[in-house]
Structure formats: structure tokens, C-alpha cells
Symmetry: C2
Subunit: 367 residues, 2 copies
DNA sequence: TTGAAAGCGCTAACAT
DNA sequence: ATGTTAGCGCTTTCAA
């Protein structure tokens, strides 16, 4: 249905053998000007295009990269996939995309399918690097592959945000702004080792500065009841002046819940998010956050894969330090030295405009 | 590299011909229990999987659907692609994704590539339905295809938001809330016929209610200077109390700019967005907007394609009326009857909570 | 029930 | 310079 003319049809119409057609169209081997001419007109007349299926069978190569991510409804993955796809396309490769919906069975099935489809390489985010059936499958075939957003186990190559280091960075920022009592709001850790690493880094950073260990508020996936949870949490930990949310959406939800509890952000509470989504800068107050570069990670993963396939380009390795940067925002404000224990006093609140400029500078530096 | 064992290897190991292996594995034709056994163990031992490339060449079918969209960095497309991909996967099809970055040449190239890859069908969003080289290419091969987010020309099938009807709806909403003087903020129409249709529908709706024709503010892609543009716009049209933004991001940007101009939303100005992105409900005020269901559109497009391919499933047709719904939000507030000409008076400002409940009811109705 | 062989579209080795 | 042909992995006749 999709294709009509084959190389045979072209050969017949041009009055030559199929090999000649192949040679002309691929600019490989010799062909007379006359033959070239005849072939080209036949191609035009038939609107001929090679079938990649035939080529793939013959060359044992598909010029296709498989990509497995949990869900592109999450903009972090969407952007990464977009970046990966662009690099592939530039190199003449196409991308087969499968979303697993955070489901381990789907993940295995997806990888099996991609192997069957004979992709030349796979870029993937798995649920658990230590225990992934699909990953084992890939390894047993020595298929070029590259992890994305998974912390690489020893010897593995991966493009991912250094969640631990980013967590440390947030602790540094809180410290610099004089917040000593902090909290962390995250999804329950069972479903996200990434959030756990952010928390661990954050704890580490707090310890480095001799700050109180961060209080932990684990919330479910259902965001509706964050407000009462936050209320109870803050009653248990009344000293807290700074909260690190495991991602920007959660940070926004936290700000909203705080507002419902008549807690003003940033006057009464400073909030720092994670990811650096676009809207963070469009709202009021703007969101202080860890900015990541999903596109770059995706593009990097593609470059890695491509260099594994062609062997030509020197293997690109992600630089851990460059996988994130902090962006200041109105949701974070310095806290004056405590006048009394536990009392919160705001010092020289920066105007929104100042904060914005600060954010901009920070951003430019990191690019 | 990717694949090792072929059907030949299995046959050899099982001590039979390749045809037997094929029959056993496909459950087609007869095979003795003994042979089945031998084949299955050979398969296990070799960890054999069929090569889809070989199958495709033989069957002239690839079980692959091509998908061409401008960019999945736009969550509207990301969600649509995700929905489309899921439906494909459920039906045993995979998805080859190409993003065109709103570039016409890329679009043509993408479609050419997908044809060469012998995809069984194509789901696509083109820049200009009336004038798309790629679309012509597809039509000339009678390849099953389905438009997504493009208004279908006569006889064409397309899954898209009814932008015009949605525009009318927004006018209705403004009218119900007593806003008679309105404006429309959109990207310059050259690059988006969708925004133009929203505007035309909006104008139509305003005319229906004998309202002033909406004033038009066309902004460039660069959002930085929205504030001065908005300022000038509102000075030219001082009566405006309601603004319809062509999408939610632009609505947020408009709210931000308004705030910089000391115009309070919704007290001094009501804003309605378009798309229904998640964060619209997480900010303060919540964003009144037209909610669309990108996932459903994508899924619908896939169903259409699949039924075109298999002919079995009854062809799904998009229902125009169900492609959007209005969601109330804090950014829109009723305006009291004008006390003096041009003077704006807010009537019974709804608490955020009320607005939220209202939004929720609206949302539940529409699902 | 089973195997041999043709053929899907293409490339590359070989022959002319 | 050009044509013939084998073979990539698979399915499907067709014979046995």
C-alpha cells in the first residue's frame, strides 16, 4: 500500500539492471552519464524511493534508535526525547519511541520489541537499574545502549542529572540565605530513587553546614490532600523556614497549600523546587529552583549512542557538574539572623525585579 | 550486532527445516508435539526472537506508525503523542516519531523518510493543510493517514480541537460574566492558523452577543516585551475588562505583565487561557481556560489509523463538540453592570475556594 | 507432518 | 560500464 515502485520497476523502465539503478542512486561504483540520465528520469516518473526495509535486511542495520522513557507527559522526559530525536535525525537516524508508564512489565516488553525491530541502539530510562530484565536482555546482545536519567552503576554510561550533588547545592543555598531549619517534600521514595538521591544529597549538604537534618514529608501521588499534610508537618516542625520540593510541580503545590494555611511565601517560608520548568518564571513569586537541561541530556545520550554505533566520534561523556544549576527566584528569601530561637525575621526582601535579574545572571552563567 | 540467532540457527539446533520453526512459533500449520518441543527448547537456548525486518520484507507491512508533530516540548503535542503511542502499542504497533520544529522543509523530509521506512500509516500535524508537500506525497501513495490538530479540509479526517467553537464559547463566558469589551492576545497569525480560528470564533461569539468586536494584540514569539506592548494596547483600548489569550502560557505571561502594570487580575482585568495545562490550577489566581484533551485526540487519531489499516474496527470519528470544555478559574470574575461608561466595578468576588469548586464541577461534567 | 524453495527489495561480488 | 546473481530473515506455497 505505502510503496509502489521498487528498484526493479525503475530498472525495467530505464532499460538496465537493478545494480545500475543501485549504483546510480547511491553514487557508488561507475555508471555512464547516459545511464545516469535514464535512471534519474525513471525515478522521477515513478516517484521512486528506496525501501528501507530491503536495505535494512541487506545491511543488517536499520538507522533507527529505540527510546524507552516512562512518560512524555512529564515535560522533563518530553524535552529529553525531543533533544535525543533531533540529534538522531541530524545523523540520519529515526527514533522509535515507547513509553512505559512507569510499568516494569511494559519496560521489558518495550525493550524486547525494540530488539525484534532490530534498532541500532537504545536510549532508555529504566525503573530500577539494578534489576531490569530489559537491561539484561540488551546486555546479553551487546546492543549499543545508553541510560538516561538513571544513575549509572559502575562501568555504565548514563546521561543523568546528578541528583545528589543538586541536593547538596540546595542545602548550600539555604545555608547562604540563613535558613537553618529545613524540610523536604517528596513523593514516597519507593517509586522514585531519584527523589531519594535528592533528599540524601540535601541531608548531606545540611550536615556539611551543621544545620538541622531536614525533616521529611513524604506525600502520595494524590496531590489533593497536601494542605492538611503540610499543616500537620509544620506543626510537628515549627522551626522550618525553608522547604525543598522534589520537583517544581510539587513546589507549586506546596506554595498553594502554604497560601491556604495563611503562610506567605517567601515571607514566612522559602521554597526551592527542582527541574526548572518554564512556568516557574511566569508566576508570582517566581520559583527558585534547580534548573536542569533535559534537552542536553537527551542530545548527549544520542551522541553517545551514535558514537558507539559508528565508532567515529570520540565517546562523549556527561559532565556531572554541568547537569544542573541553581536559579534564584522570588520564592526564596534570605532570613535574618534569629532574634529569638525559632522566630523568623525577613531581612531586606529583594524586589521581584532584583530577584529576576539575579536569576537571569545565574542562568546565563550556567549556559 | 543487535541480533544473533536467526530462524536458520533455530532450525539447525532443533534438527528441522526453517518452515517448521516458523509454523511452530506462529502457531500456523501443523507440527508434531515432538517437533514443537524441540523447537521451543532451541528457541530458549538461543534466546531467539524473530527479526521484524525479515518479516516486514516478506509481509510488506511493518507494524509501525509514523508520527509527525512540530515539537513535543509543547505539552499539548507531547500528550497527544503519548495517547497515540499507547493505542498503537496496545494494538501491537510501534511509533516512529519525528518532530519538525515548525519547519516546512523538515516536515516534508520527515514524511519522505517515513514513507521510505514503509510505515503502515502516518499521524501528522502539518503547518499548512492547504499547501503541504508531504501531505501530497502521502496522498499520491494512498498511505493511511490521519491529521492531528489541523482543521480538516473537506473530505479529510482529522482529530483536532474545534478552535472556532472554542472561541465562540469564550465569548459566551465573557458575556455571561458581563464583560462587553474584550481583547485577544495571540501570536502573529502567520505562524498559527489555529490561533486565527480561535480569534475568528471569538469575534463571531462577540458579535452574537452584540458585544464590541474584540481588540487584537498580536505579539511576536519573543515574550520579553509583552509588558510594554500590553501597556500600549490597554491605553488604546481603555474599556477592555476581559482578555482571551491564545494559549495558557500566553495567559500567564499576560497576567504577569498586567501585574507589572499594577493591573490586578481578576479585579481589574479578567483573563481566559487556552489548553488547560496542569499548572493553571496550581497557581494563584487559578487560570480560567478552555480545557482540551490532547491525549484523547492522539488516541483517536491512532484508532482511526488502525481501523484504516485493519479495516476491522469501526472507523472512529472525532466529535467536534467534545474536543474542549470551559474550566472556570480565579482569573475570571464577573463584572458588575457599568455604573459609568468605561468604569470597571467588580461584583461579589468569589473566594478562591469557590472558584475552585466551580472549576471542579465543570471539569467533572466534561469528562 | 515436514522440508525444499521461491520471493519480498536491496546491495555487493563477480562476470562480462 | 553494466548485468547477473547470491543472500540478508522470513513466510508460504508446493511436494513428499
Amino acid at each position: 500500500m505505502g510503496q509502489v515502485a521498487t528498484i526493479k520497476d525503475v530498472a525495467q523502465r530505464a532499460g538496465c539492471g537493478v545494480a545500475t539503478v543501485s549504483r546510480v542512486l547511491n553514487n557508488k561504483g561507475s555508471a555512464s552519464a547516459k545511464m545516469r540520465e535514464k535512471v534519474m528520469t525513471a525515478v522521477k516518473e515513478l516517484d521512486f524511493q528506496f525501501s528501507e526495509v530491503g536495505r535494512s535486511l541487506q545491511s543488517n542495520t536499520t538507522r533507527t534508535i529505540g527510546c524507552v522513557v516512562p512518560s512524555i507527559e512529564n515535560p522533563v522526559y518530553a524535552d529529553a526525547v525531543q533533544g535525543a530525536q533531533e540529534v538522531c535525525l541530524d545523523a540520519g537516524y529515526q527514533m522509535l519511541l515507547i513509553c512505559t508508564n512507569y510499568n516494569a512489565e511494559m519496560e521489558t516488553h518495550a525493550i524486547r520489541t525494540l530488539i525484534a525491530k532490530q534498532v541500532d541502539g537504545i536510549i532508555l530510562t529504566v525503573g530500577d537499574v539494578q534489576n531490569s530484565e530489559g537491561l539484561d536482555l540488551i546486555r546479553s546482545r551487546t546492543l549499543p545502549h545508553c541510560l538516561l536519567y538513571n544513575t549509572a552503576p559502575a562501568g555504565q554510561i548514563s546521561w543523568a542529572v546528578d541528583d545528589h550533588a543538586a541536593g547538596v547545592k540546595v542545602a548550600d543555598v539555604f545555608f547562604e540565605n540563613n535558613h537553618k531549619h529545613t524540610g523536604f517534600v517528596g513523593l514516597d521514595f519507593l517509586s522514585s530513587d531519584r527523589a531519594r538521591q535528592r533528599f540524601e544529597g540535601f541531608s548531606q549538604g545540611c550536615a556539611n553546614h551543621k544545620m538541622t537534618p531536614p525533616a521529611l514529608l513524604e506525600v502520595g501521588d494524590n496531590e489533593d490532600n497536601l494542605t492538611p499534610q503540610l499543616d500537620a508537618f509544620l506543626k510537628r516542625h515549627p522551626n522550618i523556614t525553608g522547604i525543598f520540593a522534589s520537583n517544581d510541580y510539587r513546589a507549586l503545590a506546596t506554595i498553594r497549600s502554604a497560601r491556604q494555611l495563611s503562610i506567605d511565601v517567601p515571607r514566612d517560608m522559602s521554597i526551592v523546587g527542582f527541574d526548572g520548568i518554564k512556568v516557574g518564571q511566569m508566576i508570582d513569586p517566581t520559583l527558585a529552583t534547580i534548573v536542569t537541561a533535559p534537552r542536553k541530556l537527551g542530545a548527549g545520550a544520542s551522541q553517545t549512542i551514535l558514537s558507539m554505533i559508528t565508532g567515529s566520534t570520540p565517546l562523549q561523556l556527561p559532565l556531572k557538574e554541568q547537569t544542573f544549576s541553581f536559579r534564584a527566584g522570588g520564592s526564596l528569601m534570605p532570613l535574618a539572623a534569629e532574634s529569638k530561637d525559632g522566630e523568623k525575621v525577613a531581612a531586606f526582601p529583594p524586589s521581584d525585579d532584583q530577584t529576576y535579574k539575579k536569576a537571569k545572571i545565574q542562568q546565563e552563567r550556567s549556559t
